[in-house]
């Protein structure tokens, strides 16, 4: 079990090196990366099953005991995120292999993609603040390369914004690390949980807010979201889908982890987070309504959806956190699917602009199905997974008596539905601009992963009961804190 914890990080890293060596043979590269990601997914599932039955598990890299060594910790929340991210990475890789193009055929694509996978896993598993910084950097550096691999003019332009913003966030993170170390003398998260209590309250709150800003930039919460809708849509679809599904959610994960583990229950910035959550939801969805390109509409929706996750956290109850966790799981699947479908539309018709699209229902009905199911789910229409996740959040909000934020979230759901119907009416209904014969055929390898993820999101809706139970257990772990600390120091 202890060895298994390192596998989601080390296996993709080793495979990335291997993929560079065999760079000359693209098919071998593909086999290596696909096998690796399947192995990571299986390992993640094993970790989740074990952690769920035996409780939080920790291992110390290099055998140095905590808090000196670098700790890897898997609690239920981390394990769930690990499973869902590994599944997404594997599915999107199949899609990327199916869609040939300059970016995907580049010798660097597979190694960098694997490094991205390693960085994401490391961010979920690490139990050390500085190591979290390093994981973010591994992940972000990989994402810089993936975003600009094509070297096209628009990619370079948006890539620069993205890199500069991420670097600013990294410098702020480093500053936060310096302050935290200066005031406590430790970087181990479990150790920090108790040592931060001895720090004067004002300093502690400043540190916690600084960390919130750092992760807020990565998670694209209001008012730190402006870089996202500009940079995401220019990357190739497979890359955008992974970014949209996973990268911002790693930021959300870090926010939830630090705000629950490091902050005393009575000092949590609840009002601030509730305001941020409402503003993020509203601004995101209004931005989406104004847009006119499928990928840009979807990008603004990411921001809006982040608001829901922050809302679940801001309630700071077990039910609220459980809702947030369920929402993250649902969102990762649905958002990735929507971007993949958007990419399929672009691949088939050559454009993502709603003005130049139309009648896809008639020319390619399968795309309409693949769009409609996740779109309805995103808007929270029953019986799809979005409804289940939103219901859990709203329920938690009622239990806590926060009616204002519930009202906002329900209103935003309606607006989400509105902007989804905008895509539907613009791209899928109406007269086709080009006949089916003129459009490019869609490779089966691109359809299969998209369909598989759609089925997965339906499965989330069907298995909502057990999944909510699991989320509730994960949320209880987060609330108690002592399990996490004991696992780190006891193991």
């Amino acid at each position: 079990m202890k060895v298994l914890l390192a596998a989601p990080i080390t296996v993709p890293m080793a495979a990335a090196g291997l993929a560079v060596i065999v760079g000359r043979w693209r098919s071998l590269q593909r086999v290596i990366s696909l096998t690796t990601l399947v192995v990571v997914a299986v390992t993640a599932i094993v970790i989740l099953v074990r952690v769920d039955s035996e409780g939080t598990s920790a291992t110390q890299a290099g055998g140095w005991p905590a808090p000196i060594g670098i700790t890897l910790v898997a609690d239920r929340f981390a394990a769930m995120m690990l499973v869902i991210s590994a599944l997404m990475l594997a599915a999107v890789l199949v899609y990327a292999i199916g869609q040939s193009g300059v970016d995907r055929d580049h010798v660097g694509f597979h190694p960098v993609y694997l490094l991205l996978a390693a960085g994401i896993s490391a961010a979920f598993l690490t139990g050390d603040l500085f190591n979290l910084f390093v994981s973010f950097e591994v992940m972000l550096t990989a994402s810089y390369v993936l975003l600009t691999l094509g070297g096209r003019r628009d990619q370079v332009r948006t890539g620069m914004t993205y890199v500069v913003i991420s670097l600013i966030a990294s410098v702020l993170f480093l500053t936060a690390v310096a302050f935290v170390y200066a005031s406590t003398g430790t970087m181990n998260l479990a150790d920090l949980a108790s040592k931060l209590d001895t720090v004067p309250s004002a300093i502690r709150q400043a540190l916690v807010l600084l960390l919130l800003v750092v992760f807020g930039i990565k998670a694209a919460i209001f008012p730190l979201f402006f870089w996202l809708p500009d940079s995401y849509p220019t990357a190739p679809t497979a890359v955008t889908a992974v970014f949209a599904g996973l990268l911002t959610k790693v930021g959300v994960y870090a926010i939830i982890r630090t705000q629950t583990l490091l902050v005393e229950p009575d000092e949590r910035p609840q009002e601030l987070l509730l305001i941020i959550a409402s503003a993020t939801m509203v601004i995101g969805v209004l931005g989406a309504i104004a847009q006119n390109d499928i990928k840009r509409i979807l990008s603004f929706h990411i921001i809006s959806q982040i608001g829901y996750m922050v809302m679940g956290l801001a309630l700071f109850t077990v039910a609220g956190l459980a809702g947030a966790i369920l929402y993250i799981v649902h969102h990762i699947v649905v958002k990735t699917t929507l971007f993949l479908t958007g990419g399929l539309v672009e691949h088939r018709t050559g454009t993502g602009h709603l003005d130049r699209l139309g009648g896809i229902v008639r020319t390619t009905p399968i795309l309409a199905v693949l769009f409609l199911l996740p779109a309805l789910s995103l808007a929270g229409v029953p019986p799809f997974s979005g409804f289940v996740a939103k219901l859990a959040l709203v329920d938690a909000g009622f239990a806590d008596g926060n009616y204002a934020v519930i009202g906002v979230s329900l209103l935003v759901s309606l607006l989400t539905l509105f902007s989804m119907t905008k895509i539907w009416a613009g791209a899928f209904w109406g007269r086709p601009h080009t006949s089916a014969d003129e459009q490019r055929p869609v490779p089966i390898l691109m359809i299969v992963p998209t369909a598989a993820l759609t089925v997965l999101s339906l499965a989330i809706a069907i298995g909502a009961g057990p999944l909510l139970d699991l989320s509730t257990r994960a949320a209880a772990d987060l609330e108690v804190r002592s399990d996490y600390v004991e696992a780190v120091f006891g193991g």
Partner: protein, 141 residues
């Protein structure tokens, strides 16, 4: 010594932030490096004052300097160095395209702003401005 270092870190953060707010990419890159230097100095300070060099047996254990922040700094330097190099490569690529060092606006945002202007003119009972429509078209292509 600590105060001098802290003042230096503050100056680096200040000038770095100023440079970040400029429009030329070369200044932004320099600004980011200055910010990173400031953060590294701050990390150095987080070890807490002076101490003896960290060699086992060189001095009494209590008077040794905490070596961990220095390890952090080394890691951080490598990371920011790599990222700055990547950014410079991007800046060069951008220069190849535009012959210019400025950070570009988001085209799609401008297109939407232009469209809003055009619809507002229609609302006021005027004919939609041909130049607005055509410049939106130009942005698209």
């Amino acid at each position: 010594m600590t105060i001098a270092l802290a003042a230096t870190a503050a100056t680096l953060f200040g000038t770095g932030t100023y440079l970040l707010l400029q429009r030329q990419l070369s200044r932004i890159v320099i600004g980011l490096s200055l910010l990173a230097h400031g953060a590294n100095l701050l990390l150095l300070l987080s070890a807490g004052g002076r101490g003896e060099p960290t060699f086992v047996g060189a001095a009494d254990q209590d008077s040794l300097l905490d070596p961990l922040p220095q390890a952090f700094i080394l890691t951080a330097i490598v990371i920011t160095f790599g990222a700055s190099t990547f950014l410079l490569a991007l800046a060069y690529r951008s220069y190849e395209f535009t012959r210019d060092d400025e950070v570009q606006d988001d085209l799609e945002d401008r297109a939407i702003a232009l469209r809003v202007e055009a619809t507002e003119e229609v609302d006021e009972g005027e004919e939609p401005d041909e130049t607005t429509a055509s410049s939106e078209q130009a942005l698209r292509t």
